[in-house]
């Protein structure tokens, strides 16, 4: 009994972590290469969810909608980069934070006026809307397994791309020495737009995967962006490996905090005090974790070697 619920929570934590990784990958890429802080990254996650919702209702197929919505979100990211973001690379982080905060307000309002204030539910095909019995007594929703699978595939794809392709080489080179890459005659502007669009596509994918579980709704981006920042900062800003490990760490800690903290607290305090304290502490848990890690390692767990 106890071990089976532990195992299920492990999978739940893994699934949350994977989702956070998809979001933080794009954020850490733009940060590592362009040195750009993008608060509006969450808005792209929301756009992905809304594109996918509309396309699912239009085409009738969730999978087809995902395939169509990914390039669409990438395009949205590309346009955003060309219109606004591009002009901000030479500025300091403060300007990035403010301008992208403005972008959040704009995109949220535009989405509100197009899709209305209420969220959109995304129907899943029957075979995804069910459960699988992984081991005797351990039943897990199929769709959540799919999220884990897609997330791991995306992580592997990113790993191969960054480490074994020419584009990846440029990305790595750009992350360690931007000016040098430019001096070697690489079209920096296109590289940056491409990376931004890639990050947007990954964020959008995360939005598409979460929307059938929650729903596509306004503000979903601002809700998650802070957690995503916590992930990349714990991981070490600009580090893909750090983002991956930190995302899994946060996913697991958050899930385990929610499931077992109250039982844990009941061991050391009265039942009523535990019931009050546990939700409060589990809500603060990731922030506490971040503060502790930064107090001892101001650069995060896995800072990139050259910056």
């Amino acid at each position: 009994m106890e071990t089976s619920i532990l195992f299920i929570q492990l999978l739940n934590g893994l699934q949350l972590g994977i989702l956070l990784f998809l979001l933080s990958a794009g954020l850490t890429l733009t940060f590592g290469i362009m040195d750009f802080v993008n608060l509006a990254h969450g808005a792209l996650y929301m756009l992905g969810a809304f594109f996918c919702a509309t396309l699912t209702l239009y085409t009738g197929s969730f999978l087809l909608a995902v395939i169509l919505a990914i390039p669409l979100t990438a395009l949205a990211g590309f346009i955003l980069e060309k219109l606004v973001v591009q002009h901000l690379y030479q500025r300091d982080h403060l300007d990035h934070v403010l301008a992208t905060f403005g972008l959040i307000l704009c995109i949220d309002t535009i989405v509100h006026s197009i899709w209305g204030p209420e969220g959109i539910a995304i129907p899943l095909p029957e075979f995804l809307n069910s459960q699988v019995e992984l081991l005797p007594g351990i039943v897990f929703p199929t769709f959540r397994l799919l999220i884990i699978a897609i997330g791991l595939a995306a992580a592997a794809g990113l790993y191969v791309m960054v480490n074994h392709t020419r584009v990846g080489m440029l990305i790595r080179a750009g992350a360690s020495n931007r000016t040098m890459v430019g001096a070697l005659g690489i079209d920096i502007s296109t590289l940056f737009s491409g990376v931004f669009a890639l990050g947007a596509a990954l964020a959008g994918l995360a939005g598409m995967l979460i929307a059938p579980i929650t729903e596509a709704s306004i503000g979903m981006g601002s809700d998650i962006i802070i957690t995503t920042f916590v992930v990349i900062i714990i991981g070490g800003v600009g580090s893909m490996k750090g983002a991956f490990l930190a995302a899994l760490l946060i996913g697991l800690i958050d899930t385990f905090g929610r499931s077992f903290l109250d039982d844990l607290f009941k061991l050391i305090m009265s039942g009523e005090a535990a019931e009050t304290a546990a939700p409060a502490v589990s809500a603060m848990l990731i922030y506490i974790l971040m503060a502790v890690i930064l107090a001892f390692r101001p650069q995060g767990l896995f800072p990139p070697l050259t910056r």
């Binding site: 403060l94 403010l98 959040i104 704009c106 509100h112 503060a291």
Partner: protein, 315 residues
Amino acid sequence: MVLLLAVVPYVLYVTGNTFWLDIFTRLVILAIAACGLNLILGLGGLVSFGHAAYIGIGAYAVGIPVYHETYGGMDAIASYNGFVHLGLALLCCAIFAFITGVISLRTRGVNFIMITMAFGQMMFYAIVSIETYGGDDGLTIDLRSELPFINLDSPLSLYGLCYISLLVVVFLTYRIRNSRFGITLQGAKSNEERMNAIGVNCYKYQLTAFVMSGVICGYAGFLLGNFTTFISPEMMDWTRSGEIMFMVILGGAAMLWGPVIGAVLFIVLEFVLSEYTVYWHLPFGLMLIFAVLFLRDGVTGAIHGLSSSGARHQS
């Protein structure tokens, strides 16, 4: 500007526009908070994303003693006395700023932005979880702080207090700016390594500035609590920290009066735009983007730049 903020609210009150006096009071209080933030942001170059927490602490320092005086319990702090509230607000903010500052100032850049935000969020969730003080529902302050000579229940005296406080805070930042302390701080902002190399312990200076900035925001919170007579964790949320930051940048962080002008513009924009449409976030967001793209030193800087081209960084 100084004169305007002194005369217009009085005229508004006398002509029966009490609602507009409210707007001015809110504006002046937020301007104080913005000045407080600017101490660390403008002078120190450290972008704190958690300053709304101090405003919240200041406001709860009014609400909690009043609550206990009215409903009993916690005799040590239960009081209607304004000096108790004020002392509590400043002391709590100083302690919180010191503890978080010691840790946060070890980091730089985006890590500093995010760790200050994390501490702000922790405070937010801590208050949300304390049911006695209303948790998420917030706490109504039944009675305002009692101070000698000033009756805060009169909107005009409350405004007067806020207005004079703003002048004092601006004067204070003016003095700090030109003091040895302020110059060291600005030196650390432009080149920390060099300052450390010539034997200045930047960390100490920055921590002092961080605490001072937190205390000023706490004072603004004390005034805000007395003004709204209602406090909720909402006012400590990270988006609120973002708003104060926006005021500073909009007005111009490098300028003495920048935060004040930023606060005025922010409130006026928010009010005027939300009158016209519920979709007011769109023009507001666009303006924010344009302000960042085209007004490098905020509005003050732009006006400054227009009239005396070249001398942008003098104030």
